[in-house]
Amino acid sequence: MLTLTNISKQIDQRQILKAVSLTVKDGETLCIVGPSGAGKTTLLRIITGLIDYDQGQIQLNQREFRPSRDNLQQGVIGGVFQDFRLFPHLTTLENVMLAPKLTGLLSADEARQQATELLTQLGLEQQAQQYTFQLSGGQKQRVSIARALALKPQILCYDEPTSALDPNLRDSVSQLLLQLKQTGMTQIVVTHDLTFAEQIAAQTYHLAPLQ
């Protein structure tokens, strides 16, 4: 269970987040919704540890957890970026096996096997040897999810998972997220797409822009 209590953040002397409190229970999918500029992405960057917060507290399973320090070491919270950020010089398979191999989580052979399994689960076995520029947007997103799953995170975060895709792909993304939910994965999804949020979420958190 991830709990945020009174999280505040200023960037360049502008208050982006003020006293944000929310809880995500294990296996639950939480949608953070709100208009542009409300600080959704900033909140997600704090949760994944890419930036630190100024005030407040974060707890993971009732223990204090500072993502910028703890998550970048432990990798318990994985992330899928809006623009995917796949590594262009690596094949799809290499993208997925790189982190478990380099961090010592798995041997090279195990990492390769796991990556093959993940890509198969996500319907990408044909693309394993392709480079990312050869993939469609939807395929890139699934590779990005596979890459995050390869580190066996407890929680998976998505930043606007539908915004870089064709509208007709929205359903397949929601299917995928529901499928992952069934495996027990805890998910946090930032989106401005309320229909998508309704399709996938058990719980919604509205983030309003600060005046």
Binding site: G49, L72, L98, R147
Partner: protein, 215 residues
């Protein structure tokens, strides 16, 4: 007469070519990693280091290599730092070329999207792993054409070592020209330089192709 003449001066030219290749090869071998290190230092958050490296790059790029060669060989002994000719030449070449490579690598490093680094951080990769596995391969692809230019320049610049009395290819040609009062040795020298640069151009194209597998 000409063919016999060429075979006669060939051993001298060959010996000069080996000096040219030796200066070229060792400079490349040492200046490339040094340039990469300097480029990383130029992006450091530690201001004194950045200022020091900026000064180093400014001095080495702002003065002629010929002057630097003279300074290293004739000037450093004034502060009791005596280098023999070959070491002095190599020292000046490496210090000089490292700055050009550093500027090229700096541009390459800047061009790597910050998002790539964040993605790698999220995957628990350590800074050194991010540099070696994510940043460097992408930088290499971008810098090869510019590095290639400097590599070709380096072959030709190596002729400057004559100023401290080293016998490179051009010097071998000059000696033969002065002795025999003919321009033919210089034609042979030009031909050898052209062959060297043709081989290097071919190798550089191969290196570019090696990284052409992705966009």
């Amino acid at each position: 007469m000409s063919w016999q003449y060429f075979t006669g001066i060939f051993p001298a030219l060959l010996s000069g070519t080996s000096m040219t290749l030796s200066i070229f090869g060792l400079t490349l071998l040492l200046a490339l990693p040094l340039g990469l290190l300097v480029s990383v230092g130029l992006r450091s958050h530690f201001k004194p280091l950045r200022a020091l490296l900026d000064f180093y790059v400014w001095v080495m790029r702002g003065t002629p290599l010929l002057l630097q060669l003279i300074f290293v060989f004739y000037g450093l002994p004034l502060i009791h730092l005596v280098l023999e000719r070959y070491s002095a030449a190599l020292f000046a070449f490496v210090l000089n070329y490292a700055t050009y490579f550093a500027e090229i690598f700096r541009g390459g490093l800047q061009s790597v999207d910050q998002g790539q680094i964040e993605a790698a951080q999220m995957l628990k990769l350590k800074p050194k792993q991010i540099f070696m596995h994510i940043i460097l391969p992408q930088v290499n692809k971008k810098v090869i054409p510019a590095i290639g230019n400097e590599v070709i320049n380096l072959v030709k610049d190596s002729s400057l070592v004559y100023v401290i009395g080293l016998g490179d290819l051009l010097r071998a040609g000059n000696i033969a020209m002065a002795r025999d009062v003919t321009l033919l040795p210089l034609l042979a020298v030009a031909a050898i330089y052209l062959v060297l640069t043709a081989v290097l151009t071919w190798l550089l194209r191969r290196a570019e192709r090696h990284y052409a597998y992705y966009e």
